[in-house]
């Protein structure tokens, strides 16, 4: 569905926002574009949507070049830009109808489609409300409904859940998930759990380049090597030290005094193995009181660290 080959985008003034990236997205996939602010996610999406041309490289959507066959590709794409710009003075239904007509739908067809997407996005009750007076969650749904209104093959959503409360985020995510199969979806975000929940594949962007492209599970596995287990155990310090030193699964450990008799042990596994069952068994067998046992979830930062490390070493 999307074929990006050697895409580079340099802005006037010489700043390179996207630096020679290539990737493909198959039909029906939900792909997350993950990266910190300024990584080039929005720029990539703007080029894909046909709003800006690439400095070099080719971008094809559904087999059409986004620059040379701009009209053809724009018909196939539903794009929601960052910050979801809308006309605040218009009413929801009126706005969606206006957008449907702009996207080339006939009068009757646009009425049908607007009704359909309003149901799909849960907007039926607010059709007569003025957009500017809606809550942020509803505005976001209006933006989504706009992206969907012409039933496009490809949907590009730039940070669709930013600034929403947890409840709203959940409903927007559920909506996006429901699009899988029928549409190809490309989402940008900097929230890792979001990608895990919605996307079949993740592209990690950093500093204008794609550093990794994999399923969330595989990325997790790659990451697991670095994840620590925290255990708070009430046992003599010396005993704990010898136990950890003699366990082959533990690569590294750190001990700190906690409250009362408890010690806080931070353990790094050797082969990305989950140490928790092992520690529980140890505590049970020895009769040590155990009051906390957690595996620290690797944050997005950790992933960046992990994926950016090889390249920095190459430079050195």
């Amino acid at each position: 569905m999307i074929e990006v080959a050697n895409l580079t985008k340099r802005y006037a003034g010489g700043r390179t926002a996207v630096d020679d990236i290539s990737f493909t997205v198959a039909r029906g996939e939900i792909v997350g574009l993950l990266g910190p602010n300024g990584a080039g996610k929005s720029t990539t999406m703007r080029v894909l949507s046909g709003f800006m041309p690439a400095t070099s490289g080719t971008v094809k959507v559904g087999g059409f070049d986004v620059f040379h066959d701009s009209d053809e590709t724009r018909r196939r794409i539903g794009y929601m830009p960052e910050n979801n710009p809308l006309h605040p003075e218009m009413r929801v239904r009126e706005y969606l109808k206006f957008r449907a007509r702009l996207k080339g739908l006939g009068w009757k067809k646009s009425r049908e489609r607007v009704t359909t997407v309003m149901e799909q996005c849960g907007l039926t009750d607010v059709g007569r409300r003025i957009i500017g007076q809606l809550s942020k969650g509803y505005k976001q749904r209006v933006g989504l409904a706009d992206a969907l209104v012409h039933d496009p093959e490809l949907i590009i959503l730039d940070e669709p859940t930013i600034g929403l409360d947890p409840q709203q985020i959940r409903s927007v995510r559920a909506l996006i998930k429901s699009l899988a199969g029928k549409h190809t979806v490309l989402i940008s975000t900097h929230i890792l759990p979001e990608v895990e929940m919605m996307c079949g594949r993740v592209l990690i962007m950093f500093d204008g380049r794609v550093l990794a492209s994999d399923t969330p599970e595989n990325l997790q596995r790659r990451m697991a090597g670095g994840s620590q287990v925290i255990a708070e155990i009430a046992a003599p310090l010396a005993t704990l030290r010898t136990v950890w030193e003699n366990l082959p699964e533990v690569a590294q450990f750190d001990l700190a005094a906690g409250e009362g008799e408890f010690f806080r042990c931070a353990l790094t596994p050797r082969d990305g193995e989950d140490l928790r069952p092992l520690i529980y068994n140890l505590a049970r067998v020895n009769g040590w009181p155990l009051r906390e046992l957690t595996r620290s979830r690797h944050s997005l930062e950790d992933i960046y660290m992990q994926v950016t490390r090889p390249t920095t070493e190459e430079v050195e």
Binding site: R46, F51, P53, P81, N83, P85, E89, L102, K103, G106
Partner: protein, 250 residues
């Protein structure tokens, strides 16, 4: 075509379904009314044979209204959409750049013509109370409105260009005001420079907006003036189109 009409409807709605639109109309009405009060008072003291419409252009009021109103009408067109980001959602739908430019310009000129309608009421009053039958004569009237339309086209197309190159409405208004004042000054210069054998003065004569409007107000149609206004409008709209397209080669 249907996309153009959709865009035009939307642009017209944002003029006529907003408070700003009516504030502009009210301001123009006030200025037109005021200028007629001053005009009639002047005529009362010093009888004048020419039709009132002609005198109206002779005063600075008409030009003042033109110079003030056109930047305010056009400043919103592109600058607001760019500032709010809706320009991005607009240009990523399968609409043509030309359609967008033309729809915005057409809406602006339509609104501008509507804003000038109160002038008819003033003329009617003049005719009613002075028995000057010439004021509402079909010939002078259509000539006058054609003149208003053509000059408006030039000034509004300059405003479109100004709005297309700026990202804030204030900047857009200032740029189009400066452009308008420049054209106005050029016209002033043209009026005060007599045409002689030099080509410079002959070229300058085309910019003599005052005499041209004067002719229109008398009901006389000067093809050279019409062509001049039409080509100036065309030029500015073409430049606007290039600016809108420019995001493709930046």
């Amino acid at each position: 075509m249907s996309i153009f009409l959709t865009l035009l409807r939307r642009e017209l709605a944002s003029f006529f379904l907003s408070l700003t639109g009516y504030v502009i109309i009210a301001a123009i009405t006030l200025l037109v009314g005021l200028s007629f009060v001053v005009l009639i008072a002047g005529v009362g003291n010093d009888p004048f044979t020419a039709p009132v419409t002609e005198m109206f252009y002779g005063t600075f009021y008409f030009w003042l209204i033109l110079l003030l109103a056109t930047p305010v009408i056009t400043m919103r067109l592109f600058a607001l959409e760019k500032a709010s980001g809706t320009f991005e959602t607009l240009m990523t739908t399968p609409v043509g750049d030309l359609q967008v430019v033309l729809a915005k310009f057409t809406a602006a000129i339509f609104f501008y013509m509507v804003a000038w309608l109160p002038l008819l009421a003033c003329l009617f009053l003049v005719q009613h109370f002075t028995n000057q039958s010439g004021a509402l004569d079909a010939g002078t009237m259509s000539g006058m409105y054609l003149g208003i339309f053509l000059v408006g086209c030039v000034f509004l197309s300059m405003g479109c260009l100004a709005s297309a190159i700026s990202c804030s409405q204030m900047t857009a208004a200032m740029i189009s005001f400066v452009l308008g004042v420049s054209l106005f000054s050029l016209a002033y210069l043209a009026k005060s420079t007599p045409v002689n054998g030099h080509w410079q003065t002959q070229v300058l004569a085309y910019f003599n907006l005052f005499d041209q409007m004067h002719d229109f107000a008398r009901g006389a149609l000067d093809t050279r003036a019409v062509i001049f206004y039409a080509s100036a409008t065309f030029l500015f709209l073409f430049l606007t189109l290039r600016v809108v397209e420019s995001r493709r080669w930046k």
